[in-house]
């Protein structure tokens, strides 16, 4: 708010003094020049491919048509898989939140050096290939895997538990991969929260729980929101984990797209699937923005 309020004032000042105005414009041009490489890069590597994707998706054998979109809407499987994709992404986000928030909170209460050390532990799996982690989970979770063998030997279960090739397997694998994306932004924001505020609240008679719920929690929200958004969006495009750890009902949309490209050579239809996924994601993004405010998430307006 403060920033937007200041801007007209500067503008007014510039308008009065032509010399100032010239300087100001020159500086703006220089700044824009610095921005240019990044803009070009985005244009060439991001905007252009997305436009191509859109164009590809409305071509059917050389003529413009919405045939591919009709197919997505009319045949059950595509919307069903889309639904599965969003459900899994939501579930993963929720689990990451439940696991990641206390972890980030704990880390933020430690001395900087200790916190850094522990953060490395959070990051190590992050540096390991997804494929490797997925196969490692398979070794642990399968019917005759390590976990089931232990539980059987300890007499805790009589039958091996089914933890793989179903939703559980997919969720475990994906949460493991995505948890750092929740912990890191949450930790960064929590670290920046002034602990004196909590002490002040307690001084003024708040219980520790009240202080946490009414002071710390709201202040930590931007980090949590950023983490959730990252996890959710990354989860939407997941591919390997559901393919290797899921059952027949855990097929996600990326798998269908891959199949269209790999075996059917149907690039336009894959493009249409991609566009629908993108559109739905954007809608969710907008709703999310309305509810939580992305400017907060990306640190534009902290004051």
């Amino acid at each position: 708010m403060a920033v937007t309020a200041r801007r007209p004032a500067v503008g007014a000042q510039i308008a009065v003094d032509p010399r100032m105005r010239k300087l100001y414009l020159r500086r703006q041009a220089a700044l824009f020049g610095l921005l240019l490489p990044a803009l070009l890069l985005l244009l060439v590597l991001f905007v252009y491919p997305i436009l191509r994707l859109l164009v590809t998706s409305v071509y059917d054998q050389g003529i413009i048509s919405l045939e591919h979109y009709r197919r997505i809407v009319e045949v059950d499987v595509y919307l069903r898989v889309m639904r599965t994709t969003f459900t899994i992404a939501l579930q993963v986000t929720a689990i990451c939140l439940v696991l990641g928030y206390p972890l980030a909170y704990f880390l933020s209460t430690l001395r900087a050096r200790t916190a850094r050390l522990l953060l490395i532990l959070v990051l190590i799996p992050f540096w390991t290939s997804i494929l490797v982690r997925t196969y490692a989970w398979m070794v642990l979770l399968q019917r005759q895997g390590v976990v089931n063998r232990w539980l059987l030997e300890l007499g805790l279960i009589d039958e091996p538990l089914r933890m793989m090739y179903n939703r559980i397997g997919v969720l475990v694998g994906m949460v493991h991969v995505l948890l750092p994306f929740m912990v890191l932004p949450a930790f960064a924001v929590m670290r920046g929260i002034d602990r004196d505020l909590i002490r002040a609240a307690q001084n003024l008679g708040a219980t520790p729980l009240q202080a946490f719920l009414r002071i710390f929690f709201p202040l930590s929200l931007p980090g949590v929101a950023a983490g959730s958004l990252l996890v959710f969006i990354l989860a939407l495009g997941f591919f390997i984990t559901p393919a290797l750890m899921g059952g027949r009902t855990e097929i996600m949309i990326a798998q269908l797209m891959e199949d269209q490209i790999r075996t059917q050579l149907n690039f336009p239809f894959a493009a249409a699937l991609g566009t629908v996924l993108l559109a739905v994601t954007l809608v969710i993004f907008v709703i999310y923005n309305r509810l939580l405010g992305l400017d907060k998430i990306f640190g534009g307006d902290v004051s």
Partner: protein
């Protein structure tokens, strides 16, 4: 995201290869996870890298597959300067397959013709991009025959020049307008030999018979309807010779899906990568599965209690092709001719159990080895050959129906 993309690329290679373990294990080792008990996978890897001279049960892995090939000669290739100064860019599936090809095909071609050889990894998207951009780097690429035919149909390939490629001894359904099949492989029924009290499943009827052959099963998801529908019909009593005839009718397709309905509750794993069924069987996760023959062969020789039922298997091929606009077309055709000579194909089969498309190739192989090869007469006669003609027309619709059925 970059990481994710790399994984995607890796996995696509993995899928396409059917035999690519090496990279994955290297990653495992790099991650320090080598100690995790991945017995089956590791063994599988060692075996796949182990050539099987004469098909004996090799117990110690040897690195020969990656080493220089034997100094054999090939009739018609006696001028070591024939292609001197020319470069052939070969795009294969990588992994153990390309290692074997390097020893049995690429290096000998270089030695016998003087051509320089550059290797790359094949990829449908890359091939299309090269042709679309009019800048074709590859001279010869490998693809599944189905994909090759799809590319041919869409105008992405050069026609094969049969004045250079000698097709006299090539088997039926091997030499086509835009591609030449270079190996046979099979989707077969694989099972654990210690699960059914000495009984062996004789075909898909037994795979469907959950009372006679109890236990969890795995099935192929990566090929979608291809294979699954054929197997479902045979399980339902359709004779091998009539499978595609039945499948070409709407009632036949309904019948196949109705048959699949019956086995659906008993399939606990739908596999996505070729290594999975071998691992699932070796670990005892399932008692029966459809699988690619090379993978099962590998764990079999490592000593896993598994066996292949060739009866009612689905015989398929991989092809060599030349992208449209490739430079050095003549060199490409000569290389394809070379790769389909009996001497070369026999060498390849000794290194990896995918078998010759040149009928004469079998004359150069031991009986032991022949028993492990999908297109050797004893195995070929009891299988059905995938009808690419049928699938080219039907895949789009049936894949959709299959996905719908699977996720419902």
């Amino acid at each position: 995201m970059a990481d994710e993309r790399m994984e995607l690329v890796l996995r696509r290679l993995e899928l396409a290869n059917r035999i690519r373990r090496r990279q994955f294990l290297r990653l495992m080792a790099a991650a320090g996870l080598g100690a995790v008990s991945l017995n089956a996978l590791v063994a599988c890897q060692q075996e796949e890298e182990t050539p099987a001279p004469g098909g004996g049960a090799a117990t110690t892995p040897s690195p020969a597959a990656a080493g220089p090939g034997p100094e054999f000669t090939v009739a018609g290739y006696d001028d070591p300067n024939k292609w001197k100064g020319k470069t052939l860019v070969f795009a294969g599936f990588g992994g153990a397959m390309q290692d074997a090809q390097r020893a049995a095909v690429l290096e000998p071609f270089k030695r016998l013709t003087g051509a320089e050889i550059v290797e790359d990894s094949t990829d449908l998207g890359k091939l299309r991009a090269q042709v679309d951009a009019g800048n074709v780097e590859w001279t010869v690429a490998q693809q599944g025959t189905f994909e090759a035919r799809l590319l041919g149909r869409q105008g992405y390939l050069e026609p094969i020049d049969y004045s250079i490629v000698d097709k006299a001894d090539l088997l039926e359904n091997v030499a086509r307008e835009f591609d030449v099949a270079v190996i046979f492989w099979s989707t077969i029924l694989a099972y654990r030999t210690d699960e059914f009290g000495g009984k062996a499943p004789q075909g898909w009827k037994d795979y469907w018979d959950v009372e006679g052959f109890p236990g969890p099963r795995a099935a192929d998801k990566v090929d979608g309807p291809i294979g699954n529908l054929e197997f479902a019909l045979m399980a339902d009593g359709v004779p091998k010779s009539e499978v595609y005839q039945v499948l070409r009718t709407p009632e036949g397709v309904d019948r196949a899906f109705a048959s699949l309905d019956k086995i659906k509750p008993h399939v606990t794993v739908w596999w996505e990568a070729g290594a999975q069924p071998a691992q699932l069987l070796a670990d005892g996760e399932v008692v029966m599965t459809s699988a690619w023959n090379g993978r099962i062969d590998a764990i079999q020789r490592q000593g896993a209690p598994v066996a292949i039922q060739w009866n009612e298997g689905l015989l398929r091929t991989d092809s060599f092709l030349v992208p449209k606009g490739a430079k050095e077309k003549e060199l490409a055709m000569d290389f394809i001719n070379f790769a389909t000579r009996p001497e070369v194909q026999a060498e390849l089969a000794k290194l990896i159990p995918y078998s010759p498309t040149n009928g004469k190739g079998f004359d150069l192989l031991s009986d032991d080895l022949k028993q492990r090869l999908p297109s050797a007469p004893a195995q070929k006669d009891v299988q059905i050959e995938a009808d690419n003609e049928f699938w080219l027309d039907a895949l789009e619709e049936l894949q959709e129906r299959f996905d719908n059925w699977l996720t419902a």
